[in-house]
């Protein structure tokens, strides 16, 4: 290794009894230079071997804390069945704790064997970091997954990650607060929701608790509106990749922004959505400060943990409202949680073994049920035991995209928050989105 040269020139400098200025500077420069060279070279080199004396190590990195207690057991079962493979499971707390570690590992050329790709699945795939799982696992394997899960991770006929947990979004509501406000039944369209909100607001409660912080959470609400306006779930997929003719200033986008704007103006959401974090919004709901909550299928597990048992028994869930009566209730449904496999790691084959095991029908279904998560495969959804998850999974056929995978797309979240803050008009925001996305693409 090059650094050894640097170390030895320093060492010989120490060995000399006469330490003078020149020696010191030379030694320092040599050390500097050696370290610099070594590091630059390291940055370009490939991944490291991860096997020693016959056992292969497979690292699994994610932030899927909902399986913090259940996944280790499954992993242990796997290791018992495959004694020559050791699995290092690391579950970070949040994406913000996870992403620096992942970015550093990638820049050092040492990508974990199995990792949560976040929104980088496709870009990593194009750069050769994540493996093409269509090739590795075959189309048959992928058939069981919902189309949305496969689509979101695909580029052309290559697929760079597997959906681990599907999710759908809906509106959780508190029937007691509805009754107190004189609301009957569930609103079907956005106009109905606006009416409900007026009644609920009159009782002094907030209507829909929602977190528009960070800006990408706001996109969870807004992007499905584009599908609702166009009735075409592939529209956003093309916009996401900024394909020819697709711009954020196109008419469907502006129309969706206008709808969003109308909803905000009608005081459907609580004050200060852009300052409310995800768990704060949930707190508003289960402490009774808000009658409804717009969020996804991770909520039921969280409510069991944080809300009173009484509350857990009484809350209900309804579909995302449609744009008009009779229209489809398009709901956000892409998998926020997925797994990608490192293309460059020497333990790639072992990693694929681990994945196949995790997804084997009995193992996968049990794991999903034990952690109250929504599975990403049809066969596992059929075996879901939690009634809330079952209900939300039944909306998957009406699923549409809501995650900005494309290069620079997530920059559209910032201008979007201006709609929630009522600081800019829909037309302006559309222009700002286009500029921001183009800028962020670099």
């Amino acid at each position: 290794m090059h650094s050894i040269n640097g170390a030895s020139s320093l060492g010989s400098a120490f060995a000399r009894t006469r330490l003078d200025r020149r020696t010191l500077l030379k030694a320092g420069a040599a050390g500097f230079g050696a370290a610099a060279t070594a590091s630059l070279l390291a940055a370009c080199s490939g991944g490291s071997a991860s096997s020693s004396s016959g056992t292969t190590t497979v690292r699994v990195w994610s932030w899927y804390t909902e399986q913090k207690d259940t996944l280790p057991k499954v992993i242990k079962d796997f290791e018992d069945k495959h004694p020559h493979i050791k699995v290092n499971l690391r579950i970070f707390g949040t994406p913000d704790q996870y992403l620096p570690a992942l970015t550093a590992a990638v820049s050092g050329g040492d990508v974990p064997e199995i990792f949560a790709p976040h929104v980088r699945a496709i870009t990593y795939g194009k750069q050769g970091i994540s493996a093409d799982l269509k090739k590795e696992l075959g189309s048959d394997f992928l058939k069981d997954f919902f189309p949305a899960e496969n689509q979101e991770y695909s580029d052309g006929d290559k697929q760079y990650a597997l959906g681990w947990e599907a999710q759908t979004f809906g509106i959780f509501y508190n029937p007691e607060l509805f009754a107190a406000a004189g609301v009957d039944g569930e609103p079907e369209t956005w106009d109905d929701l606006i009416d409900v909100a007026q009644k609920v607001n009159a009782t002094g409660k907030s209507s829909v608790a929602f977190s528009a912080n960070p800006g990408t959470s706001a996109l969870d609400f807004f992007l499905p509106l584009i599908t609702q306006v166009t009735d075409d779930p592939t529209y956003f997929l093309k916009l996401d990749q900024l394909e020819k003719g697709y711009k954020w200033t196109n008419e469907p986008v502006v129309k969706a922004l206008e709808l969003n704007d109308r909803i905000v103006k009608a005081n459907v959401f609580q004050k200060g959505t852009t300052g409310t974090s995800g768990d704060q919004a949930t707190q508003l709901f289960y402490t009774g400060a808000a009658a409804m909550l717009f969020a996804g299928s991770w909520i039921p597990a969280g409510l069991i943990q944080n809300a009173t048992p009484d509350f857990v028994k009484k809350y209900k869930i309804m579909k995302t409202p449609a744009i008009k009566t009779g229209a489809r209730h398009w709901t956000a449904d892409q998998a926020g949680a997925g797994f990608a496999v490192s293309e460059t790691s020497k333990a790639k084959d072992a990693a694929l073994e681990v994945l196949k095991y995790l997804y084997s029908p009995d193992v996968y279904s049990k794991l999903m049920n034990d952690s109250s998560s929504m599975p990403a495969t049809q066969s596992a959804v059929d075996r879901v035991t939690s009634p809330q998850i079952k209900q939300m999974a039944s909306w998957l056929p009406d699923g549409c995209p809501h995650i900005p995978f494309g290069a620079g797309s997530s920059a559209s979240g910032d201008p979007l928050t201006k709609i929630f803050d009522q600081k800019a008009s829909p037309a302006d925001v559309a222009k700002q989105m286009q500029t921001a996305v183009v800028n962020a693409r670099g």
């Binding site: 370290a35 707390g93 704790q97 969280g302 009173t308």
Partner: protein, 298 residues
């Protein structure tokens, strides 16, 4: 014989009392109560969030936000839960050894260098000093990737020793500035007198100067222990195997994106605060309380 501190020509009084008692004679009774009142008010403001922290660790989980301020139902269940589910013992020991070694390394290097910059003259001293200052000038987050690459090049990635070296390298300069400041308050004549008495530079440092630097060293020990004990970002990125992680990254992984297990988290945090308080109290008694520069007389 004291080194001369009074103005030239001043004859020191021979009947003065020890300095410590001297200081205590100065305050007047009225000033005392008023000062005490203010201090107690500030202390209350300061300590209240931490009381909340401990209280939260004693609540059942679903009363965190819905219950009253003072919980009606106390439970210690979170503590065993925190102990077991985070593998507290292992990570606690990791933190302990990494922090202790870091503090030791920093104190040694910072004292040596701080003294050199304060009292010794050598060429390029100022250049080096300014260069070392650069350590304090970069946000930590911007250095993660370069440091990761550096450690990787040297083969110390995913290695507690690598993290230790990283900590010492990036913290020693700050402690060095502290030590230098303290050394500068010591009179030059002290050093020169020792030299004249035939001591080597190292002896001067060890026997004469170092014992007087106790307040500085105590401060450095406390600061360094704190900073290292609480560090999260580098440890999280540089160490990959969970078994090697110190305490903080493990505790923070309890803060989920949507759900946080508050009682377990606060229980873990409360337990992790204990060693730091112990170090602080120990330092207080050893060095800071009742110290005087009367040692100069020796």
């Amino acid at each position: 014989m004291t080194t001369t501190m009074a103005r030239p020509g001043q004859v020191p009084r021979t009947d003065r009392r020890p300095a410590a008692q001297q200081r205590r004679r100065r305050p007047a009774p009225i000033g005392k109560s008023f000062a005490s009142f203010i201090l107690i008010a500030i202390a209350a403001f300061t300590v209240f969030p931490l009381i909340w922290l401990v209280l939260t660790s004693l609540r059942p989980q679903n009363t965190i936000f819905t219950g009253p301020i003072f919980p009606t139902h106390l439970t210690f269940a979170a503590y065993p839960e925190a102990w077991v589910s985070t593998g507290f013992a292992v990570h606690f020991l990791n933190s302990l050894w990494i922090t202790a070694a870091t503090v030791a390394g920093v104190v040694i290097f910072a004292s040596l260098a701080g003294y050199a910059f304060a009292k010794l003259r050598f060429p390029f001293k100022n250049v080096l000093y300014v260069a070392l200052l650069a350590t304090l000038m970069m946000p930590a987050t911007s250095l993660i990737i370069p440091l990761y690459l550096q450690l990787r090049a040297i083969g110390l990635l995913n290695n507690q020793l690598g993290l230790l070296i990283l900590y010492v390298s990036s913290s020693a300069p700050f402690s060095m500035f502290l030590m230098r400041a303290f050394f500068e308050t010591l009179p030059d004549e002290l050093v020169q007198a020792a030299r004249v008495d035939g001591a080597t530079e190292l002896q001067v440092f060890r026997r004469v100067v170092l014992p007087l630097a106790r307040p500085g060293m105590a401060t450095v020990i406390i600061f360094q222990f704190l900073q290292t004990w609480n560090e999260f970002l580098y440890a999280n990125t540089v160490l990959q195997d969970t078994g090697k992680l110190p305490l903080q990254p493990v505790l923070f992984s309890l803060m989920g994106q949507y759900n946080t297990d508050w009682p377990t988290l606060t229980a873990g945090l409360t337990m992790s605060i204990v060693p730091v308080i112990l170090v602080y109290v120990w330092m207080q008694r050893q060095f800071v309380a009742g110290l005087t520069l009367g040692a100069v007389k020796n």
